[in-house]
């Protein structure tokens, strides 16, 4: 029985809270995946919104490794990444708007298949709306 391939993303430090202007570093690799199955791997540091509205997303850092660019991709070998975090937007948990930061890894396999995984982290330390602000006027 063959195992399902799994993407592992590890962030350095506690890996949960990043501060603006500081580097975010870590590594990722894929377990149980043969090298000849991989066409390309993309890694991004990005934010996206959740909540009532349509999703907004912006990529802060983006890396792509493609077999068409030459060389073989060894999915088992940990790939390091470093990105300097921006000043904004900070992670936020509001009522109808949430801003989430994450490191996302997308693996393109042959025959159009994809693997995707992401590791969420907080940028800054803005408290969640419900925890801090009273609703006395509502």
């Amino acid at each position: 029985m063959s195992m399902e391939p799994t993407i592992i993303i590890r962030l350095d430090g506690d890996g949960r809270i990043g501060r603006p202007g500081e580097p975010l570093s870590g590594q990722y690799w894929i377990e149980s995946l043969a090298a000849d199955q991989v066409k390309a791997i993309e890694a991004s540091v990005l934010w996206y919104t959740e909540g009532k509205g349509d999703q907004d997303m912006a990529v802060h850092e983006f890396w792509r490794r493609d077999i068409d660019d030459g060389g073989e991709i060894d999915p088992d070998r940990p790939e390091r990444f470093v990105a300097t975090l921006p000043n904004s937007p900070l992670s936020y948990e509001g009522r109808i708007v949430k801003i989430c930061w994450c490191v996302r890894v997308r693996v393109f396999l042959h025959r159009g298949k994809e693997l995707i995984a992401q590791k969420v982290f907080c940028l800054g330390n803005v408290p969640a709306v419900r925890a801090t602000h009273s609703d006395e006027h509502e």
Binding site: G53, V59, N87, I96, V97, R106, V126, H137
Partner: protein, 437 residues
């Protein structure tokens, strides 16, 4: 977690569970079809409308002809009967006499007989005594082909806008689809981001790269205050909202007035149309409502003086204190005047084919409250107070569909007047310790 190729998918809000490859292919095919249709239409229009006119104007040879007979040919088209003017002419080319029915190169037909008859009336039959000859133009390659009129029809060029629009939309969409073919959402976002960064650079660095997705609020700091550093602009244009209310009121009530005349006319003739009457009543009710709304807006705008708000610093930072100066003129007795710092989230989302926007207030801090206030004509109400931006406050945020918006809101309850509310946008940046210098 591997995704297989799916031909169809469920819609989950803005997200679909279908195959991205299939979606890209369908998108490219759609725009390719538009492009092909546009090209075919352009070629067809050019060959059937422009080329014949051009040949008549530049290749056909001028000569004189005798008008021997005139007639109107009736044909039944998709839109009913059509009438085509035809004139039998006789002309000589290289010693050979040609005689046939002609008028223009397009064999123009008219929806009414009068139009065709008006054309025929321009040409009188040949009379030996008068020697009345007319000018005509024949095709030197085939002298049997001739016309009595030539020139260009201006509206043909307007028709070109249809295939050109198809080509523009099709080509643009196809280029977009091909550029994004097989690319992940992150890669597309990164490409868009790079393009925007280049634009920002080209435009002289208008975007604030230090604080992405925080509005710059340039128009907030470009007006100096008289008491404090900046005078804040009021959010939303009062003039425009008043103009729109006025325009709607005038147009709607004009339509209602015309409908009333029709309805009254029906009564005068003894044939009242009760459906029209019901329609008119509904129109009038909305018309009265629009007048009421307009008067209310006018009372707020003209009856309550311009509110001026100034602030000691901008942008604002969480945990810091600022001074705010408020000036409210107008000879009024106010039951209540309230100034608050408000943070609201706004989310835009698609629901079917509509885009809806929802705003939810997430923070409100009362900064000033005055009750039973009497403002004199010569002396506006002026006051200064502190504004403490709460520690841990989220910064302002602006993206395509989501927004976090801070403002100073002035609300007033004026005696014998509608309540008013005026908002003054402020930008909140992350706390100084929460961002890199």
């Amino acid at each position: 977690m591997a995704r297989s190729f799916r031909y169809y998918g469920k819609k989950r809000g803005n997200r679909r569970t279908g195959s991205p490859a299939w979606a890209s292919a369908s998108e490219a095919l759609f725009f390719a079809v538009l492009l092909v249709l546009g090209c075919c239409g352009l070629v067809l229009l050019f060959t059937t409308q422009v080329v014949p006119e051009w040949r008549v104007n530049y290749e056909f040879v001028s000569t004189t002809c005798k008008v021997l007979d005139k007639r109107i040919t009736e044909t039944r088209g998709a839109d009913g009967m059509m009438y085509r003017p035809e004139i039998k002419i006789e002309y000589i080319v290289d010693g050979v006499t040609h005689s046939d029915w002609h008028y223009d190169i397009h064999h123009t037909s008219f929806a009414g007989r009068d139009g065709a008859q008006a054309i025929l009336d321009l040409f009188s039959l040949y009379d030996k005594n008068q020697e009345n000859l007319f000018c005509c133009w024949y095709n030197p390659a085939d002298p049997r082909e001739a016309v009595l009129v030539r020139g260009y029809r201006w509206w043909v060029w307007l028709v070109f806008t249809v295939p050109i629009s198809f080509i523009a939309i099709g080509a643009g969409g196809l280029i977009f689809a091909l550029l994004h073919w097989g690319k992940s959402a992150e890669r597309r976002a990164a490409m868009t981001q790079r393009a925007q960064d280049r634009d920002l650079f080209a435009a002289g660095g208008r975007g604030d790269r230090n604080f992405p997705f925080i509005p710059q609020g340039v128009n907030i700091t470009n007006s100096p205050g008289t008491k404090l550093q900046y005078r804040l602009p009021v959010a939303g244009s009062v003039g425009w909202s008043l103009f729109i209310a006025l325009a709607f009121c005038v147009v709607w009530n004009a339509c209602a007035a015309v409908s009333v005349v029709w309805a009254v006319h029906g009564f005068a003739e003894g044939k009242p149309d009760w459906i029209l009457v019901a329609f008119v009543v509904a129109l009038l009710l909305i018309g009265v409502g629009s007048v009421f709304f307009l008067v209310r807006r006018l009372l707020v705008v003209t009856g309550i003086g311009l509110t001026l708000v100034e602030i000691s610093g901008h942008p604002l930072h969480p945990g810091q204190r600022y001074r705010v100066a408020l000036s409210q003129p107008g000879r009024r007795k106010m039951n209540l005047l309230l100034v608050s710092l408000v943070c609201a989230e706004t989310a835009a989302y698609r629901q079917g084919t509509n885009t809806r926007t929802e705003t939810q207030e997430v923070y409100r801090q009362e900064l000033l409250r005055r009750e039973d206030l009497e403002i004199k004509r010569e002396q506006p109400f002026e006051v200064e107070f502190d504004l403490d931006v709460p520690v841990g406050a989220m910064h302002s945020f602006l993206a395509g569909h989501n927004q976090i918006h801070w403002s100073l809101v002035v609300e007033g309850d004026v005696a014998r007047r509608p309540k008013f509310q005026r908002a003054f946008t402020v930008i909140v940046h992350p706390a100084p310790g929460d961002h890199a210098a």
